[in-house]
């Protein structure tokens, strides 16, 4: 069983008291416990079981405008004593920073809303194995599938965030994640693809057969890929890649990147950075939403933010420290976004893929080719050639490149948004990118 609120609160208040006694003018503590159990299958047989019990505490102490932090997985009192003493000592020796402080008291969350993020159901490993047996049977039905791997993870966590201004709140959450990977082979190639499902509640995850079947389908259609020539072309990003592009946008509007001047979106507030039809929300109060929460990692209340309205950048993602530097109030985004999504576009998926006589449909990218400072984007990609709305053949060993400033302006969204993960996007089309191949 994951540690209860009372245990965590006791640890947190012990640390707050000790830090104060040793000279801290303010302190914040985050203490958490998570337990996860994983079962992995490979080629229809049990491959690995893994039980993981993680305790952890993070303590930040302030002496005036000086700050330092420690973290540990050892919550025994004698260890905490040593560490807090060390933390206070380091704090004293760290130079002042005028922007260091706990969040404004009036911004702290007053209540923890129940978004139904915790499912107490415990699935025994034998039942996980039974799910994976069905999944792998469905994944390996085709003769060309030469390898299957799958995994079922159940996780329960609990935490308390407390600070010396009297904030002391936390909540339990759970997750159930099942994933399926298939490897297929023909004379010319060997390919791999996947499908996964991730939910707070066991009953909401996809059924095993559907998951295995999808992974196999994704893999089989990639066999015998061709390389194509280099040209300027329209690219359609599958939802699973489109949501990654949305995450890059989010990191470029974090107050930290903005205040340091290391974002291509610096000084773009109230300017049009996307086409008119684009709206982006960050909504923390979605029932069972994986990113749902009442407060951020500093305790600041988190409300819905409209980040982009009709193409215009309306808000940054602000934490206390960087907010102070920018002379802006925290909007509860320390640690990032909650449930981030593009609002649906106007065009249906089928019309989107046939809107150009020739385009590329990208299902996977590799490499770390996003530069937030310059906005340059260049990654390796795998996908399909589409001609007149028809999938022609798989393609690989190409790169796609552009600059986000242009890509955002040339972006069109389909109307097929689904709330599967904490960041979600409809299918996305970007015109005028460059593909490099032969």
């Amino acid at each position: 069983m994951v540690k209860d609120q009372e245990y965590l609160e006791k640890k947190a208040s012990y640390c707050l008291d000790l830090a104060k006694k040793l000279g801290a003018t303010s302190t914040s503590v985050n203490v958490g416990n998570s337990i996860s159990e994983t079962v992995n299958f490979r080629n229809k047989k049990l491959d690995e079981s893994n039980r993981s019990d993680n305790l952890g505490i993070d303590i930040t102490t302030f002496i005036g405008k000086k700050k330092s932090s420690i973290s540990s997985s050892n919550l025994q009192e004698d260890n905490l004593n040593i560490l807090i003493e060390k933390c206070i000592e380091t704090t004293k020796n760290t130079p002042e920073d005028e922007f260091n402080s706990l969040p404004d008291k009036d911004l702290l969350a007053q209540e923890v809303k129940d978004f139904n993020l915790y499912d107490d159901t415990h699935l025994e490993n034998d039942s996980k194995a039974e799910y994976l047996t069905r999944l792998e049977a469905a994944a390996s039905r085709d003769k060309k599938i030469v390898n299957t791997e799958s995994s079922f993870v159940e996780n329960k966590s609990n935490f308390i965030l407390a600070n010396s201004d009297g904030f002391c709140k936390g909540f339990k959450s759970s997750s159930f994640v099942a994933s399926s990977i298939a490897v297929a082979k023909d004379e010319k190639s060997m390919e791999r693809d996947y499908e996964y499902t991730h939910k707070c509640h066991l009953n909401d995850i996809k059924n095993a057969e559907e998951l295995g079947k999808k992974a196999a389908e994704h893999t089989l259609r990639k066999l015998s890929p061709k390389k194509i020539g280099s040209e300027k072309i329209t690219i359609i990003f599958d939802k699973r890649i489109a949501k990654g592009i949305l995450s890059i946008f989010a990191s470029a509007i974090s107050a930290s990147a903005i205040s340091r001047g290391t974002s291509f979106l610096k000084d773009k507030i109230n300017q049009k950075i996307f086409s008119d039809t684009v709206n982006i929300y960050d909504k923390p109060d979605i029932f069972k939403g994986q990113g749902s929460r009442s407060f951020d990692s500093e305790g600041v209340k988190t409300d819905t933010l409209k980040l982009v309205e009709q193409g215009v950048l309306k808000n940054y993602l602000i934490d206390t420290y960087n907010g102070r530097k920018l002379n802006l109030k925290s909007n509860g985004r320390c640690g990032g976004t909650s449930n981030l999504y593009f609002e649906n576009g106007k065009i249906i998926y089928k019309d989107l893929i046939s809107s150009n006589s020739k385009c590329l449909y990208i299902t996977e990218t590799i490499g770390h080719g996003s530069n937030i400072v310059t906005g340059d984007y260049s990654v390796g990609a795998t996908g399909f050639l589409i001609e007149n709305g028809e999938f022609k053949h798989p393609i690989n060993e190409i790169t796609i490149a552009g600059n986000f400033k242009d890509m955002f302006q040339n972006l069109t969204l389909a109307n097929d948004l689904e709330f599967e993960y904490s960041t979600n996007s409809p299918t996305m089309m970007i015109e005028g990118m460059v593909v490099a191949g032969k």
Binding site: K45, L46, D47, E48, S49, N50, S52, D53, L55, S68, S69, S71, S72, S73, N74, L75, Q76, D78, L83, K86, C87, T90, T91, N93, P95, D97, N125, V146, N147, V183, S189, M190, R192, K227, S230, K232, R260, G261, T262, I366, G367, H368, G369, V373, T374, D376, S378, V379, G380, T382, N396, E397, I398, T399, I400, V434, V435, A436, G437, K438
Partner: protein, 470 residues
């Protein structure tokens, strides 16, 4: 050296008994105990942004039977916790009937000393250097807009208790010093990053004001990029500089030669043992035994002493990198490549210091043969799709080559290639092998481990460059 049972209600004998009892019908397994202390001190935006210290303690208990691995880990080293883990392992391996392999090779060699680098240098002297870095770079040029510099250091003590009570220990220091600078000129921003490190104390890397060299190099890379023009797009010849660009070898070849992917036949190399996979003159080794290098280990995380493993010799595939599990299943021996990020993770076969050895040609000779291509000097991260063999990496410093001469710098572009065929496209191997400066971290299955790379300059006949200039 850590005493893991000091403050526990569990003593060593009791722990050994639980280990032997749990593993008696298993083929392999161990109790892995780990105590790590780490620090990070960061200067950013003219201020000390972060000074943090972490202490992490825990155990991971592993039982292996046939191909099945059961694993359980916890932060609490106690009777109760170990018993719970033992029961968890037994319930997974209900029908285990293996033969425990007691043999584990021995060696007295050590590739680094038992220091705690965090304690070897005072906080104040670390802060002083970070402030000097900031001042030095901002004075150096008016275009400097942002400076980030940090120290990160760690001491990790591990103890491995095997069935029968055999115990293996290691204490591993690791440090890194990193500088990143952003320049802005005429509205254009570019950044440059450089770092150094390894398994010694910070001051071993900072003698003679060496931090200045790190600053100068980060500044030089950023300056070059300020004048860069869009990279070309398409297939062309690529000359790679020596040292850090060997992450190409790491991504394109290294991962595909790890034992697990080959046992599972998901690597494009799984059926190529003994065959020609690279041009003549190409020899690649993976070496855990280089003194004080970032990727070096005295013993791996299963207790096997590390070694110098020849992967490809003069173009022929000779060995895969193995941990004990994959070695047993593939009927070979462990190469001391079993590694884990920490006690929370299972062991996987991983790279250590992966190196392509020197050939005979000079870099000039390579450049002269190129009519249209690029010269890549430094890279950011790379990634590989093991199954299709396709890999990428991102240039952070590169130049065009036109008619045998190095031309303008070009913007960061991704290069993409095919792992199994890329080494056959190597047509010249330089005489200038160089080790990287000690900054690499390799990710696999969600686990990051420190690694090193090395190579001479090489000429690759054909790679796809992912620029925007058609």
């Amino acid at each position: 050296m850590s005493n893991f049972f000091d403050k526990s209600d569990l003593n060593r004998n009791e722990a050994e008994t639980v280990v032997s009892d749990t593993l008696k019908k298993c083929d392999d397994g161990e109790l892995y105990l780990e105590n790590s202390k780490s620090e990070s001190i960061l200067l950013d935006d003219n201020k000390i942004k972060k000074s943090s210290y972490n202490s992490d303690l825990g155990f991971g208990f592993r039982a292996v039977s046939g191909e099945i691995v059961a694993y359980s880990h916890s932060n609490e080293i106690s009777k109760n916790s170990l018993k719970q883990s033992s029961e968890n392992l037994k319930s997974t391996l209900k029908s285990a009937k293996g033969n425990y392999d007691y043999s584990i090779p021995k060696s007295n060699k050590k590739y680094y000393t038992n220091i705690n680098p965090i304690e070897e240098k005072t906080l104040n002297s670390k802060i002083e250097i970070l402030n000097k870095v900031n001042e030095y770079l901002r004075k150096k040029d008016n275009n400097v807009q942002q400076v980030t510099a940090n120290f990160s250091g760690e001491q990790k003590s591990v103890e491995i208790i095997r069935s029968g009570g055999e115990t293996l220990t290691d204490v591993r220091p690791l440090v890194r010093f990193n500088v990143s600078v952003m320049l802005e000129k005429n509205g254009r921003k570019e950044s440059g990053v450089y770092g150094i490190g390894g398994r010694q104390s910070y001051d071993d890397y900072l003698t003679n004001d060496n931090w200045k060299n790190v600053c100068d190099e980060a500044f030089r890379i950023a300056s070059v990029n300020l004048d860069s023009k869009p990279a070309p797009a398409g297939e062309m010849k690529v000359v790679l500089g020596p040292g850090w660009p060997a992450i190409l070898i790491h991504e394109a070849i290294g991962h595909g030669l790890e034992g697990d992917f080959n046992r599972k036949k998901t690597s494009a190399f799984h059926n190529l043992m003994g065959q020609k996979v690279a041009s003549e003159g190409v020899t690649i080794i993976d070496d855990g035994t280089l003194d004080n290098r970032r990727g070096s280990l005295t013993i791996d995380d299963e207790g096997t002493p590390t070694e110098k493993t020849v992967l490809i010799e003069n173009g022929i595939l000779k060995n895969f990198m193995q941990d004990r599990l994959n070695a047993r299943l593939m009927k070979t021996r462990s190469t001391g490549s079993g590694r884990r990020e920490n006690y929370r993770h299972i062991v996987l076969p991983r790279m250590r210091n992966t190196m392509m050895l020197s050939g005979k040609q000079t870099q000039d000779e390579m450049i002269k043969t190129v009519d249209r291509g690029i010269f890549a000097v430094s890279f950011g991260g790379g990634q590989v799709d093991i199954t299709s063999g396709k890999f990428v990496f991102n240039c952070t410093e590169a130049y065009e080559i036109i008619n045998g001469k190095i031309g303008s710098p070009i913007k960061g572009a991704t290069l993409i290639g095919d792992g199994p065929s890329i080494l056959k496209e190597v047509s010249m191997v330089g005489n200038d092998m160089m080790l990287d400066p000690g900054i690499g971290t390799c990710g696999k299955a969600g686990q990051g481990v420190p690694v090193g790379v090395a190579q001479p300059s090489i000429l690759i006949n054909k790679m796809t460059v992912g620029g925007t200039n058609l």
